[in-house]
C-alpha cells in the first residue's frame, strides 16, 4: 500500500502517533540541561534539600514521629545528647549536655549542660528547660511519649545541672534521649507565651522554639518549608543562610529536579533502581551511609501454614539471604549476620545462625496437600519488599505450593497486631528499624507483642522478661540470650543491614560528617561548599 493511498484522517493520525514517542525520545536523549554536567554551587547562600512527600505531622518534637520531617525537627531543635555523626555504630555523643554521669543502677542521670546556648527567642538555655521539655512530652502524649514515662523527677540544683531520676532502672534511657525522636529542649518562655489551649501545639505547627542551628522562617505544609540560619547558634555555622525544603510528591519529578540542579541534595528518598545512574558518576556525589535499619522477614504463627515451629524455620531456611539481598537491594545493603542491628552488640555476639537449606522446605512441602496456598505480604509502594516477596513466592511455587505475593497498605500492616489472623502467612519488610540504638529498642519493638512492630504477635514470655531484665542492667549477655531464644521461634529473620542513600551535587561538602546513624537526615550546619 502506497502512503498516498492512505486516507487523510489516517495520515494525520499516523503523524500524530509518531509525535508522542518523538517527544519521549527527545526527553530521554542527551542534551538539554539534564545532560549530567556538574551544577554550579549557589551564590545566594541557599541550600535546597528536596523532600519526597509531605512531612505528614507538624515538626513539633513531641508530636513528630515519622520520617522526612526530621530534616526540620533535627535542624531546629536539639536534645541533651545525640548519636555521634559519621559513625557506623551507635555512640552517645554530647549535644546540649557536655558530660553526664549515671549511677550504678541506671536510675539517676546527672547532665552538665552547655554554657552560652540560647533559644531562638533569645532566652538562655538552662536546666529549668529540661523539666519543662519532659513535662510537655508527657502532656502532649504523642507516639514517642514512652521515652519519658519512667521519669520520676527532674531536679535543677543550678542553671547548668539537671538531675533526672527514673522510677525504675533503665540502661536505655540515654538512647531515648539520643534518639531522633527523643525529647528536645524547647524555650519555656516561648512555650508559655504561645500555649493556647493545646500546650503550644497549634503554634508549633508552623514555628519552632528550639536551640538548633536553623529556625523555621516560613511554613507551607504540603508545599515547602524554609529554614533560616540562627546566628546566635553556639556550634558550627554553615555558609548556607537559608535552607529550602520543597516537597515533591513524585520520585521521578524529584530526581529530575536534582538532575536539573534545582535541588542540592536528596536524602533517603529515591528508589534503589535509580542508584546505578549515580554510582560512580563524575558529575554527582552519591553516598551510602550507615543506619540502624534492616530488611526483615516476619512469619505469622497464627496461620495454619506456619502453625509449627518446624514449618516456620523451614521457610526461613529456604530464603537465599545473600542472593536475595544482592539481587534486590544491591549496594544499599549487606546481608545481616546478627539478630539485632549492626553494631548494637559489641563483637557481633548476637550471631544469626540460620543457614540456607532449601531441602528442609522441600521436605515440608511434600507433607502438604497438593496446591496448598499461602500468601507473602509486602507494604504497598515498597518496591524492594515487593521484589523479595515475588522471588520467594516463585521459589515456593516451584515446590508445588500455591504461593502468592500481596500488597498491604502500611496502616493495615500495623493493624494486624489486633488480629494477626487477618495478616498474610509471612511479611517482607523492605526497611524498618528502631527509634534508637539500644538493643532493647530493637528487641522490644520487634519481638514483644506490645512493642509495635511485632505484626503477628509472635512472642515468648521468657524473651520479654529477659529483655526487661537486660534493659535494667544493660547486660549484653542477657540481650544475646533473649535474641537467641526468640530466633528459635522461626518468626523472625534479619535479612540485611540497610544503608541510607544520600545524593548530592558535587559542590556540597560535609555530607558524611553531617550524617547520623540514628536518622536518615543531615545536620545542615555541617554542610559547606567546595572551594
Amino acid at each position: 500500500m502506497r502512503f498516498s493511498s492512505i486516507g487523510r484522517r489516517t495520515r494525520t493520525l499516523l503523524v500524530a502517533a509518531a509525535a508522542v514517542p518523538l517527544f519521549a525520545l527527545a526527553a530521554c536523549s542527551g542534551g538539554g540541561d539534564d545532560s549530567g554536567a556538574p551544577k554550579a554551587a549557589p551564590t545566594d547562600g541557599t541550600l535546597t534539600v528536596g523532600l519526597l512527600g509531605d512531612i505528614g505531622q507538624p515538626p513539633d518534637p513531641d508530636v513528630y514521629y515519622a520520617n522526612n520531617g526530621l530534616a526540620i525537627v533535627l535542624n531546629t531543635y536539639e536534645g541533651l545528647v545525640q548519636y555521634a555523626d559519621d559513625k557506623d555504630s551507635v555512640e552517645i555523643a554530647p549535644r546540649l549536655a557536655t558530660t553526664w554521669d549515671v549511677n550504678a543502677d541506671n536510675t539517676v542521670f546527672t547532665f552538665h549542660l552547655r554554657q552560652g546556648v540560647t533559644f531562638h527567642d533569645g532566652t538562655p538555655f538552662t536546666s529549668a528547660a529540661v523539666k519543662v521539655a519532659f513535662d510537655r512530652r508527657t502532656a502532649v502524649k504523642g507516639g514517642a511519649a514512652y521515652m519519658v514515662e519512667g521519669v520520676k523527677d527532674v531536679a535543677t540544683p543550678d542553671d547548668l545541672t539537671a538531675v533526672v531520676t527514673l522510677s525504675a532502672p533503665n540502661s536505655a534511657f540515654l538512647d531515648y534521649l539520643a534518639s531522633p525522636f527523643g525529647p528536645k529542649m524547647e524555650s519555656p518562655t516561648a512555650l508559655a507565651a504561645n500555649a493556647g489551649s493545646d500546650d503550644t501545639q497549634t503554634y508549633l505547627q508552623t514555628h519552632d522554639v528550639g536551640t538548633g542551628p536553623y529556625t523555621i522562617a516560613a511554613a507551607q505544609p504540603g508545599t515547602s518549608w524554609t529554614l533560616k540560619r540562627y546566628d546566635g547558634y553556639w556550634g558550627d555555622k554553615s555558609p548556607f543562610t537559608t535552607v529550602q525544603l520543597p516537597i515533591y510528591t513524585d520520585a521521578s519529578a524529584l530526581q529530575l529536579a536534582f538532575d536539573h540542579g534545582d535541588v542540592s541534595a536528596v536524602v533517603a528518598a529515591l528508589p534503589s533502581s535509580s542508584l546505578k545512574k549515580y554510582e560512580g558518576s563524575k558529575d554527582y556525589a552519591s553516598y551510602l551511609l550507615p543506619t540502624l535499619q534492616s530488611a526483615l522477614v516476619t512469619v505469622n504463627p497464627t496461620k495454619e501454614f506456619f502453625k509449627s515451629q518446624q514449618a516456620r524455620l523451614a521457610f526461613l531456611q529456604s530464603i537465599d539471604q545473600k542472593s536475595l539481598v544482592d539481587q534486590v537491594l544491591g549496594n544499599r545493603s549487606e546481608p545481616a549476620t546478627t539478630l539485632y542491628a549492626k553494631g548494637m552488640i559489641p563483637g557481633g555476639a548476637d550471631k544469626q545462625e540460620l543457614t540456607y537449606d532449601p531441602s528442609v522446605m522441600e521436605a515440608y512441602a511434600k507433607t502438604l496437600p497438593a496446591g496448598t496456598d499461602m500468601t507473602i505480604g509486602f507494604a504497598s509502594g515498597n518496591t524492594n519488599a515487593e521484589q523479595m516477596a515475588n522471588i520467594q513466592a516463585a521459589k515456593l511455587q516451584a515446590l508445588g505450593i500455591k504461593a502468592t505475593a500481596a500488597s498491604y497498605p502500611t496502616s493495615q500492616v500495623f493493624g494486624w497486631i489486633n488480629d494477626p489472623t487477618q495478616g498474610p502467612d509471612a511479611f517482607f519488610d523492605g526497611n524498618n528499624g528502631p527509634d534508637g540504638g539500644s538493643p532493647y529498642m530493637w528487641g522490644h519493638v520487634f519481638w514483644d507483642a506490645s512493642g509495635g512492630i511485632n505484626y503477628f504477635g509472635c512472642e515468648v514470655p521468657e524473651v520479654n522478661a529477659q529483655l526487661d531484665r537486660a534493659v535494667a542492667t544493660g547486660d549484653d549477655a542477657l540481650y544475646v540470650a533473649a535474641a537467641e531464644e526468640y530466633a528459635k521461634t522461626g518468626c523472625y529473620y534479619n535479612l540485611s543491614y540497610n544503608k541510607d542513600w544520600v545524593l548530592a551535587q558535587k559542590w556540597l561538602t560535609g555530607v558524611e560528617q553531617s550524617h547520623n546513624i540514628g536518622a536518615n537526615e543531615l545536620d545542615f550546619s555541617k554542610l559547606g561548599i567546595a572551594q
Partner: protein, 308 residues
C-alpha cells in the same frame, strides 16, 4: 422553574446524605488502625488503646455516624490523624489550590476544544496534525503525559517549572500552572471538542447558513452570527460534566506535579487510613461534582424551559 430548583436542591441534599453514609461505611470496613496511624509504628499498645478511646473508635457505629454527620454539617471534619491539624484548616489551604488548577484546566480545555472543533469543521490547513496529536495524547495515561511534559518542558527545554505552586508571585504561579493545567485539560478538551465539532458540522450544513452565505456574508460573520450560537448548546452540557470530572482528575496530576491541592492531600491520607481527611475530601469533591452538574442542568433548563 422554582419547582425545578426546589426539586434539584432536595435531590442534592439526598445525594450528599447518601454519600456521607457510604463514606462512613467505607471507613468502617476499611482495613487499618487509625489510632496506630496517628501515633506511629513504635507507640506502645497502651498508648494506641488510649488513642482509640480518645478518637471515639470504640463507640457503637450509629453513635459514630451521628457524630460524624453532626460535625460534617457544621463543616467540622475533625482532626487529621496524619497532620494533627483540623481537617477544615488543611482543606482551607488545599481547596483553593485545586480550584485554581481546575479552573485553569477548564479554560485550557475550552480553548483546545474550540480549536479542535473549528479546525475539523472548517478544514483549516495543517489542523489535522494538531487534531491527531490531541487524539493520541488524550489516550495516554495522565501520569505518563505529566512525566513526559516535565521531562520535555522542564528538564530539557527549561521553559516551564516542573513542580510546586510557585513562590507566591503571580508570574511564578502562572508559570507553575501551565503544565499541570494542560495535562489535566487534554482529555476533557477532546470530549468537549467532539460534541462541539458535531454541532458545528450540523449547523454549517443547515439551510439558514447556506442562505447567509448566498447573501454574500463573509466566513467570520457567518460563524459569529449564525453558527457558533446555534452549535454550542450540547457542548455546554458536556463542559459542565467535564468540569466535575476535572476535580476527580486532580488526584494523579497533583501528585506528579507536587501541586498542593485536595488530590495530593487525599493521596497522602489514604495510606495512613486518615479517615477524617479521606471523608472530608470525598464529601467536598462529591458535593462539588453534584453542585456543578446541578448548575449545568439549571443553565440548560434556563436556556430551554421545555427541559424543566
Amino acid at each position: 422553574m422554582l419547582r425545578f430548583l426546589l426539586r434539584r436542591t432536595g435531590a442534592l441534599a439526598v445525594v450528599l446524605l447518601v454519600l456521607s453514609a457510604v463514606v462512613f461505611l467505607l471507613q468502617q470496613i476499611s482495613p487499618g488502625d487509625p489510632a496506630r496511624a496517628a501515633l506511629g509504628a513504635n507507640a506502645s499498645r497502651q498508648a494506641v488503646a488510649a488513642e482509640r478511646r480518645r478518637l471515639g473508635l470504640d463507640d457503637p457505629l450509629p453513635v459514630q455516624f451521628l457524630r460524624f454527620l453532626g460535625h460534617a454539617v457544621r463543616g467540622d471534619f475533625g482532626t487529621s490523624y496524619r497532620t494533627h491539624r483540623p481537617v477544615a484548616t488543611d482543606l482551607a489551604t488545599a481547596f483553593p489550590a485545586t480550584l485554581e488548577l481546575v479552573l485553569a484546566a477548564f479554560v485550557v480545555a475550552l480553548l483546545l476544544a474550540a480549536l479542535f472543533a473549528a479546525s475539523s469543521a472548517l478544514s483549516w490547513p495543517l489542523a489535522g496534525i494538531g487534531r491527531g496529536v490531541l487524539l493520541v495524547v488524550a489516550t495516554a495515561p495522565p501520569f505518563l503525559l505529566a512525566l513526559v511534559g516535565i521531562v520535555v518542558f522542564y528538564a530539557h527545554l527549561d521553559w516551564l517549572p516542573g513542580s510546586g505552586r510557585g513562590d507566591g508571585g503571580p508570574g511564578s504561579e502562572l508559570a507553575h500552572l501551565v503544565l499541570p493545567a494542560t495535562v489535566l485539560a487534554i482529555a476533557p478538551a477532546l470530549a468537549i471538542g467532539r460534541i462541539l465539532r458535531a454541532g458545528l458540522e450540523a449547523t454549517l450544513a443547515a439551510d439558514h447558513v447556506r442562505t447567509a452565505r448566498s447573501k454574500g456574508l463573509g466566513q467570520a460573520a457567518v460563524l459569529a452570527r449564525h453558527v457558533v450560537r446555534n452549535s454550542i448548546g450540547p457542548s455546554l452540557a458536556m463542559a459542565g460534566l467535564q468540569l466535575g470530572f476535572l476535580f476527580a482528575g486532580t488526584v494523579v496530576v497533583e501528585q506528579v506535579f507536587s501541586w498542593p491541592g485536595m488530590g495530593n492531600y487525599l493521596a497522602s491520607s489514604i495510606p495512613t487510613s486518615d479517615y477524617p481527611a479521606i471523608a472530608a475530601v470525598t464529601l467536598v469533591l462529591g458535593a462539588v461534582y453534584v453542585v456543578v452538574n446541578t448548575l449545568a442542568d439549571v443553565l440548560q433548563t434556563a436556556a430551554d424551559p421545555r427541559l424543566a
